[in-house]
């Protein structure tokens, strides 16, 4: 009864050959195509480097003014703007200014990419049920697969550096914006859509003047989630050579530098809170018309 005790499996040698075969052919493929793929992502690399250099080269008082301005414009709250400036000053005071700029540039670029790619996909999903049922499992996969599993092929293809880090961050952070764009558009009141149809709107007119504006609060919740998840990836991205606040945390973990880890970790938390509160307030203000507050 041996065959009952042990699960029937592929022989050890066959299994090894199978793995080796796949590994080998992927390695070969990545060797022959690596340069082309790297060249494809070059613009991204240059943009990322340019933004990072720009942020670091900009005098710090100007950055603080921009931060205060953006925080106030987003949230219309002086408290939040002041809080953001104070946090930035503290982070800079403890010597993390450059790392913070690098992290902010990574987060900004990856969020922009996620928006540029995610919103159109979400719109397609909301329009065609088939696209929705095809993409939903892919999103599930992206959100549940252990990060290191897809980090590996990315590194094999593109080596270590900013671009593979950026791709890893985007893969991890893009699902919420796709999902919430799709959901937001699908949740738009059927009667309002019927009215748009009854007046002879084309699909494009309906999309841009009714569906997207009414889905904006949800889409914005997606943007908020995407930013948060991108920030959560900062430490992991530093494992494949992305500079920023994640790198010292990684060093701290490897060398048991308690204070270094704590300081950089808290800096990431502070950034996360600022991004979250500002973008959330902005999203709430987008719905002001629903409660009739804006013009009263």
């Amino acid at each position: 009864m041996d065959w009952l005790a042990e699960f029937p499996s592929l022989g050890k040698r066959d299994l090894r050959d199978l793995k080796k075969g796949i590994d080998g052919s992927f390695r070969e493929w990545s060797r022959s195509n690596g340069d082309a793929i790297e060249a494809f992502f070059d613009p991204l690399y240059f943009f990322l480097v340019w933004l990072e250099k720009l942020l670091i080269a900009t005098p710090w008082p100007i950055i603080l003014i921009i931060v205060a301005g953006l925080a106030y414009l987003g949230s219309r709250s002086w408290k939040l703007a002041l809080g953001s400036v104070v946090s930035f000053m503290l982070i800079g005071y403890f010597g993390m200014w450059k790392d913070m700029m690098a992290t902010i540039s990574l987060i900004s670029v990856s969020t922009l990419i996620c928006i540029a790619v995610g919103i159109p996909i979400g719109i397609l999903m909301s329009r065609y049920d088939r696209v929705q049922s095809a993409i939903t499992p892919i999103l599930d996969l992206m959100q549940t697969i252990p990060i290191f599993v897809y980090l590996l092929p990315v590194v094999m293809l593109l080596g270590i550096g900013r671009v593979p880090g950026l791709i890893a961050v985007c893969v991890y952070a893009i699902p919420p914006i796709i999902r919430l764009t799709n959901l937001g558009i699908r949740l738009v009141d059927k009667e309002i859509l019927e009215a748009a149809d009854a007046f002879g709107s084309s699909y494009r007119q309906k999309l841009f003047s009714v569906q997207i504006p009414l889905a904006l609060p949800n889409i914005f919740a997606g943007v908020n989630q995407t930013i948060m998840m991108a920030l959560a990836m900062v430490v992991i991205a530093s494992m494949i050579g992305v500079k920023g606040l994640g790198m010292p945390v990684l060093q701290a973990v490897q060398n048991q530098y308690l204070t270094l880890g704590l300081m950089n970790g808290l800096a990431i938390v502070a950034l996360a809170i600022i991004f979250d509160r500002v973008s959330q307030r902005y999203g709430q203000r987008l719905q002001a018309h629903r409660y009739g507050k804006e013009h009263e």
């Binding site: 009141d189 009667e191 309002i192 019927e194 009215a195 149809d197 009854a198 007046f199 002879g200 709107s201 084309s202 007119q205 003047s209 009714v210 504006p213 009414l214 018309h289 629903r290 409660y291 009739g292 804006e294 013009h295 009263e296």
Partner: protein
């Protein structure tokens, strides 16, 4: 009788994935219940035939689930029929391409919805101009036109408000102005006033009737409220289980209800106010005072009672004598319904 604007012929709608395959069984007498129980398909409309005259108000009345909202959505093809024909100005609606249909919806029809269906993120002015904007009308012209309609529904000064800042009645005025702004000759009103308080509803009915005096649109008005139907309808069609069971002008419906269902429907109305003298007119003429043919019974009774022989002549709109009416006939018309009931009760 004015010209027919809109013609609906042998229209069927069966909801469900295989609706088309049940057309023949339904035509051969399969009932709504049978279709639902045995085949899980819902019979929405069953052989609708209706000629809607130009520049009149056609009311389609029925209780919820009778198919009236389904029917009105066939006219601009928000719902596709399973079988049948719909023509507007002798043009076949059902053979239109998507592009033609869009053009038809922009230029020929406009719609007012039960729950207003305004765009919550746009101001009153932008909402009213919506139909014009999507037609690509210049902003200044759209603004000017919509301003005129906002004024005509009595909402001047509210242009920059958002719908959520307005009461229900005001929101529906916006809905009405939006529908009128495109100058479409056909106005579809789907229970447009049903969600409003009774007083505001009467208000809106007055606004509609007042506007109609100048606009002469072909209005298809859906309602479940008989008083409303009698008040504003030039013609009424009564729908039950997806079938038209009676059509005619309000007087015909009250004086000659087609079946018990309709008799039951009209039993609580104030006959004195609704029935007009012309419905009980006899041949001949009288020497006494004369009554207009559209005078209500209630008003006629006073005059008749004061006449010596309780008779009056009936004149038409131009003052020409067209018949006479007696007090007995008037009282008879008032109490006919109740009489027959009482007889049964006291037998």
């Amino acid at each position: 009788m004015s010209k027919t604007k809109l013609k609906i012929e042998n229209l069927y709608k069966i909801f469900g994935p295989r609706g088309k395959s049940f057309i023949d069984p339904v035509k051969n007498g399969m009932s709504k219940q049978e279709l639902l129980d045995d085949h899980s398909h819902v019979l929405g409309l069953n052989n609708i035939n209706l000629d809607i005259p130009e520049q009149r108000i056609q009311v389609i009345m029925g209780l919820s689930g009778s198919g009236k909202s389904t029917l009105i959505r066939h006219i601009n093809r928000l719902i596709e029929p399973t079988a049948g024909a719909i023509t507007v100005d002798d043009e076949d609606i059902l053979s239109m391409s998507q592009l033609q249909l869009r053009e038809f919806r922009r230029k020929k029809t406009s719609m007012v919805f039960q729950k207003f269906a305004l765009l919550p993120h746009k101001t009153v002015a932008q909402n009213v101009a919506y139909g014009l904007t999507i037609q690509g009308e210049q902003e200044s012209i759209a603004k000017e036109k919509s301003h005129k309609w906002i004024e005509s529904v009595g909402l001047s000064g509210f242009e920059e408000r958002y719908p959520a800042q307005l009461s229900g009645g005001m929101q529906q005025r916006v809905g009405l102005a939006r529908a009128l702004a495109t100058d479409a000759p056909i106005l579809l009103m789907d229970e447009a006033f049903s969600a409003l308080d009774p007083l505001i509803r009467t208000d809106m009915q007055n606004i509609l009737l007042e506007l109609q005096k100048d606009l002469h649109k072909t209005i298809i008005f859906i309602t479940h409220d008989l008083d409303e139907a009698l008040r504003i309808g030039d013609n009424i069609a009564i729908l039950r289980d997806g079938k038209i069971i009676q059509k005619g002008d309000p007087q015909q419906i009250i004086m000659k209800p087609a079946d018990d269902y309709i008799s039951d429907f009209i039993k609580d109305i104030n006959r004195g106010k609704v029935i007009e003298v012309k419905s009980i007119m006899q041949k001949g003429s009288s020497k006494g005072a004369s009554l207009n043919s559209s005078c209500s019974l209630e008003d006629a009774l006073k005059v008749l009672n004061n006449e010596k022989n309780n008779e009056c002549s009936v004149i038409d709109g131009k003052g020409k004598k067209i018949g006479k009416v007696t007090l007995d006939a008037a009282i008879g018309a008032l109490f006919r319904e109740r009489d027959s009931r009482n007889k049964e009760k006291y037998k």
